[in-house]
Symmetry: D2
Subunit: 370 residues, 4 copies
């Protein structure tokens, strides 16, 4: 189970950062959908390092190949396996880091869990592991767009270190992917965007790193998805997002700020919009009691500053000796946020896809009305 | 799957707020453990409404009965089913709320999901559903205390509306359950505690409600629990906590505040403590790359103000008519926080228990060393 | 997972033969169905010992109670828990058998698995455990009858020891439950039925036991259920039936006899029946490549003679001493077959129900045609 | 779930017979084991068609590649993905069979399930799908041999059509793989082996096919594996074996023949063998109450005659027209039995591996004794 996510639209990812390939198998992908391979590749390109001066210069082509589950580009309803070959693995490049536990990396904990770890880097504890997730979401997105008119999922970098984009909830509601993709920061036009970019470049120059937050909106999800108990939509989103590398916090709708309001300020009153029931406000974030209410789903999440810094730090060797270390400058991001945007979207899409297909059983299995 | 949580230590809860009983089946409970029934009952009493003037006056005895899985108080390794009869269900009491969709309740979304809903209240969308979770955790806690020397899990109310307890991380590290249980607010002694209590009582008088945050610490969890990809400990904790009614946000360790720091400020340097490897600081919250590192696990979570208020609000009837509603004063909490404390602890314990048993396979299944 | 069966219509059973209660939780039961409690009780009465002179005289009322998941007899779409209290547990009655490992019972293996076992009998290794399965199937049957016009599942005792009923496949195709229920043997009228009954009574007099086979037909299951790889319908049926106590063999359609035929004799040619595609013969047993083809599903299964006999046998004590034992005459069946009939039907219904609901995702999730 | 097998040692297979590749991901493979790639390849060669005059002449190299989960041949504890490229796919070769539903093939049922099917052959309903299973078992076997001293699993062809090998249970107990592999029939030396081979060659000449039975023995499995309720070892073996293409029946131990015995004849008396408890006879087949007892596990299973024959048969076209068809002679087995031997072993090994790792939780999670 550890490498599987979802119940009906269910993905299993595999691959270490420096093995033969990374990839994903989607079990439960429905039949008959025409896949646009270029769009899948485009998702992987957005995730890929080396896209700009503020991201890691590691050059990976990340060329996707579909091994199974389709014929002439049409899904067969059978498992879809997509892989990306690892091409940039440098033997020996990671030699020095095999002898120490890097601070706030997974080196020490991986050793504790498995009794060993990959000689050549982080193994599964690598942003490269997310390739499988992103590829699966690229498939899911194409299917959801057919099944859900107007479906979209857009995330953007809302803050870097202490500087906030000041994008409002109203702006978020009409945000399009193109608005986000225009700028290397993956932040739409905002008075603070230059300052956000500058703080990253300054950190990079100083051999340091910064974190920030990402906001995400999912639009036109039908009411009724999610479960009232453990598998609440917001709980599954929280798990999905918190399972991304470096993520430290998640909040749905009003989130932590809800605690400053009275109930009478926070409640979303119901209104009619034409023949449909909607809410006047949307502090709930599109979810009530774990189930979608048809309003925009939105959430916010925090990514810590990247652990790999080019400053001297204290640590302990695998042999148990206290030392001071300073990595040679290598290929690492000063800020993970721009590349995390497609990862956040990917995990959101996977949660919606799984719950969409789960709900088919409730919708079509219930007592037929007369 | 929707009513099941965990993979190896796996619970399935059942029961509506006003049916015959609520309860839980634990599948995967190991054999040979002596259960202290009084401690289980005590957990349920902590969760129960009507404990104090700041909680709902609904009087439920919540008497637990174990139907299976034990003999003379010793677990058999077979499924343990615990139930609590519903005694306080008043026919007709909820008649008025069946005709409207209460703002920010699950009435509308439940109707959308199931095509119907329980006549007598929230069905599964009720805090009463958490009885099964708490009972299961009360069992898990007793087992973990045998398997993990010094295991403890303590939560407390860290803020109510805008007022923070000002308990520090250092205080949290040595906090004991008794410190929390002394006061009806489930907040340890703090200069602000009276103000926190007052704001609840004021809200109650005004027919309004308030939210707040809960902090939780889990101590002495061994290093190596959790998985590097989807089932990261912090991801499973996030899901567990966000699946509690009214929870809107979750953050592990430094959480959202991590985004204000440079990597060089945030990293936890490794040090030796005797023969063991520890970290000098603990911004990671006891987890690195999804796997525990042996340090204290701690997190923070947000609960919104309770949706049931005794003020007039706009809403829509089940028939689709816009109206204004004001509930008759009934049995509801002005603030869910004190009762949420044992729920937060319960879900945390269930996550640790499941990962503890999962790790047995990794520990004892790996290549034996020579 | 060990006590859970099914994926979408998913049951978890609990309870030892001599604890407080046995029962089942159904997760994934759809909403809106009117349950006939009397029919559920009737299923349990068919399963119950003490129905006739050829079955165990243990008198259990097996009164079912529904704890959750319904309101006014209508399913809510939430987990349905049904329990039956254990009333006939006699303290001390099993004292002698706690000191020896009874031949071909689960005493020794239970001890090996759990490191202990229930003092008072077989624990989960008891026919009483099947109460939960039968209760769940009684619910599933009522739902399938609504969703699948003409759905039926009928099993009967086809042989006892070496005596076969000589019921033909053609007779099976039109067999009704009433035909089976008329006689205590649960075998429809047949020239050999008296001889089958006599061999049981003779075995009983001799303190011995006999086994036999059960045939089962499931009618009007739509084409398309089941999966092409692991979850073939016949594989899931095999697991379901082989998980019943004392079952030693399973064969679908032509089964073992298929190995005596040439391919040209065995193949089922396709024909038109009106506008529908059917098969001329049905050696496949209603399943091709793991997926139903719309023809009658039928299978055969073997139950060994009951292990509890009243003759002296060699065995070993829990202390490791070789002894000879002869149980005091007690409450045990000379032949489990008649009571196994509802169990076989129950497991078959549960398999069909689960695959029916699984198929909803394939049917309604696939690319909509234009 | 449909393409996943197992719970802890858990495999997901993928790939159509004529897509880019077939393969498997093993999730839950423990760390630190040295894999012998040549042995994995050897398993695939045994499964491969074209090995002899009595098997299909389709020439597939079936070269295995490990994409992930290992480094320098040592397992990392992360998902192991193994693939085999499809090389022999001939475009157009299957054109004619796309217009008819071949008798007793999965063409019709696949169409019913997915609303479509692969243009180029059976899709997942192909013996080629078993490559993933066999590759996974080749890994599992190497691990079990380290963990279980003396572990072995050997199957052989016990009958073809009506001709039985007359190998006894005593011979089975000491059978070695080399004895089976010596002959293209995968039947150890036996007076009837020539006759068995002849009946296949005769059928082949006649454009016809034959079936038969396979027996399998699993040795030195420790007592205590398996579960008392649904996941009985014999139930999981039944599912595993019945999920193989063309399998129609399964029986454990005495199987169907148990129904001819009295309980007093069938029971396995316990005896001491040195300090260990064993059974004098082994009619149980190494399993009692669903749990292994430490004796040899053995079972028997039936494979029907292959559906593809080169004789004229009636059928229906995809357009719904009744026609007569006779396939052009192509690459198909006159008898699947010899190639099914490694498949039967593979599924058996996967069941044992999963239950072995499941039992670690029971063994190491139970109350520590003092």
């Amino acid at each position: 189970m550890p490498n599987t996510f979802g119940h009906i639209f269910r993905i299993t990812t595999f691959g270490e950062s420096h093995g033969g390939a990374v990839g994903v198998t989607i079990d439960g992908c429905p039949s008959g959908y025409k896949l646009d391979l270029e769009r899948i590749q485009n998702w992987l390109d957005r995730r890929r390092p080396g896209q700009s001066k503020i991201a890691s210069p590691r050059k990976e082509l990340d060329q996707v190949e579909i091994l199974s589950g389709q014929e002439d580009g049409i899904t067969l309803g059978t498992p879809l396996t997509l892989i990306v070959r690892n091409k940039d693995a440098k033997q020996g490049h990671y030699d020095d880091i095999n002898k120490v536990f890097r601070p706030s990396h997974a080196d020490f904990t991986t050793q504790q869990k498995f009794g060993m770890r990959s000689k050549s880097g982080g193994g599964r504890a690598s942003a490269r592991e997310t390739i499988g997730r992103v590829a699966a979401a690229a498939v899911a997105e194409q299917i959801l767009e057919v099944l859900i008119p107007g479906f979209s999922c857009v995330a953007y970098v809302d803050s870097v270190k202490d500087i906030k984009s000041q994008i409002t909830l109203e702006q978020l509601a009409t945000l399009e992917k193109a608005d986000v993709e225009k700028h290397i920061l993956r932040c739409p036009a905002s008075p603070n965007r230059d300052a956000m970019e500058k703080i990253i470049l300054d950190a990079q120059k100083a051999g340091d790193t910064v974190g920030g937050t990402i906001k995400c909106a999912i639009n036109n999800v039908p009411a009724g998805l999610g479960d009232p108990v453990f598998d609440k939509i917001e709980a599954d989103l929280a798990k999905a997002i918190m399972s991304l590398p470096a993520c430290k916090g998640f909040e749905i709708g009003s989130g932590f700020s809800s605690t400053s309001m009275f109930g009478s300020e926070h409640n979303d009153e119901f209104i009619k919009k034409g023949s449909k029931i909607a809410t006047k406000t949307n502090r709930s974030g599109g979810v009530q009691g774990g189930i979608t209410n048809g309003q925009m789903i939105y959430f916010n999440c925090a990514f810590k500053p990247v652990s790999t810094i080019f400053k001297e730090q204290a640590t302990v060797t695998t042999g148990g000796e206290e030392i001071r270390m300073k990595p040679k400058a290598g290929r690492h991001d000063p800020c993970v946020l721009p590349r995390a945007v497609p990862m956040v979207e990917a995990m959101s899409i996977l949660v919606v896809a799984d719950h969409y297909f789960r709900q088919l059983v409730f919708d079509h299995g219930r007592m037929p009305s007369h």
